[in-house]
């Protein structure tokens, strides 16, 4: 693909086909991460005139496709910023969906010569990277922030304003579950190791695998229903929940000294593992502040480490007892 802003106006439509579906599926799986981009530049959606609205987005294909597919039957200009194939929210946080890039894009596409209007509509989630007043000062274009989600764009374009709900981020089941495949992929080697462990040491290996998979897949699904406010705490609650059937099974099959030691050791080892996975989910939620995450790290990491060390010691003793060395 050619790099940099296109000098020419490119054409696009509101219809997504099989090619896009395949691209989105791969993007969701975390496959070929760097390929989900579109050429940055100015696109004509439908048959825009010099007075049609100008919408701005990132050159991540999912961002661009969400925008254009939300506008069937409408004519608009779409200005695609070069964010390196990163979505609007993350790129805004990094600053690549930002004031400088927007100014660069306006100049590179000769936008002021192609349209009469001097208003740009940006996704609200791009605001952390863009200073509306600086863009105005540098280019004469006025920045307006549209809705958080592209699906609300028709409403916004028709009325020129958003409802409160359209300005608020949600994190519903679908938003959470869509992250699962990438989580699995990010941890694929660790998980492969755990599968191997489960084959070699059936019971305990399976237990660790269940807790790890639970922490990655069940945690996002059950998030609102887990007790506690902090993600680490919720992760630990899930960990305790997942270990319980294993512990009950062990206790039911015999209450010798080794088992009575092994059960608390399992809780002490597995609960912090799930808590740690929960804590790591902070990067994926649109709710955690940096101060909050820092506080969670300082509050829970030492405690989880202490639990794990204690669990390892008790587990070691349990093994020695089991082998008849103690």
């Amino acid at each position: 693909m050619e790099e940099g802003y296109s000098q020419e106006v490119m054409r696009t439509t509101a219809t997504l086909g099989r090619k896009e579906a395949w691209d989105h599926a791969k993007a969701r799986m975390g496959i070929a991460r760097m390929e989900h981009r579109v050429r940055p530049g100015l696109y004509a959606l439908g048959e825009p005139t010099r007075s049609s609205p100008v919408l701005v987005t990132a050159n991540y294909s999912l961002s661009f496709d969400a925008l254009r597919s939300s506008l069937p039957g409408r004519d608009a200009w779409v200005l695609v910023l070069d964010t390196g194939g990163i979505n609007v929210w993350c790129a805004a946080g990094k600053g690549t969906f930002g004031t400088e890039e927007l100014v660069r894009a306006i100049e590179a596409t000769k936008l002021s010569e192609r349209v009469d209007g001097r208003t740009l509509i940006l996704p609200q989630l791009g605001a952390p990277g863009v200073s509306a007043q600086e863009v105005h000062g540098a280019t004469g274009f006025k920045v307006e922030y549209g809705p958080v989600r592209a699906e609300d764009l028709p409403f916004y374009l028709d009325r020129g304003e958003c409802t409160d709900a359209m300005r608020t981020v949600r994190f519903d089941l679908r938003d959470r579950l869509v992250l699962a495949p990438v989580e699995l992929r990010n941890h694929r080697w660790g998980l492969a190791l755990l599968v191997l462990l489960a084959v070699l040491v059936p019971f305990y290996g399976l237990e660790v695998l269940v807790v790890a998979l639970g922490g990655l897949l069940l945690f996002p699904a059950l998030l609102p229903y887990l007790p506690g406010k902090d993600l680490s705490l919720r992760g630990m609650a899930l960990g305790a929940l997942l270990v319980t059937p294993f512990a009950l099974f062990q206790l039911a099959s015999g209450m010798d000294a080794a088992t009575l030691l092994a059960v608390p050791a399992e809780f002490l080892l597995m609960v912090p593992l799930a808590g740690y996975l929960g804590l790591n989910f902070t990067g994926s939620t649109p709710f955690t502040s940096r101060t909050g995450v820092r506080r969670e790290i300082f509050t829970y990491i030492p405690k989880m480490a202490a639990m794990a060390v204690l669990g390892a010691v008790i587990g070691g003793v349990a093994l020695l007892v089991h082998w008849g060395w103690l």
Binding site: C90, A127, R167, S284
Partner: protein
């Protein structure tokens, strides 16, 4: 000194729960913060802007960046535990996303 500073304090942990600070005295009531905040932290009360839900602030920095009169301060940055832990382990202050996050 600024009069009317609202610092977000939490009696539970004896400290600030986030770094958001609003200086109502500097506000020119343009309404930008109402538009950009994804958590409805600011609210319009009559003619005035007020911190309605300060505890919900996720420190994205959108309000500070778009406030024309510097009435808002917030220390924004990557709020991602794995990135922060990695930075801490490397003994680095700057927290950056790896290529594995944020897609």
């Amino acid at each position: 000194m600024e009069i009317g500073t609202l610092d977000v304090m939490s009696p539970q942990n004896g400290g600030r729960i986030n770094t958001l600070v609003f200086y109502p005295g500097r506000c020119v009531r343009c309404g930008m913060c109402l538009k950009v905040c994804p958590h409805r932290v600011f609210a319009l009360e009559g003619e005035r802007i007020r911190l309605a839900r300060p505890a919900d602030c996720m420190e994205c920095g959108a309000c500070r960046k778009n406030c024309p009169s510097h009435a808002i301060e917030v220390d924004s940055g990557v709020g991602c535990a794995s990135a922060m832990i990695k930075a801490a382990l490397r003994g680095r202050e700057d927290v950056v996303c790896g290529e594995d996050c944020c897609r």
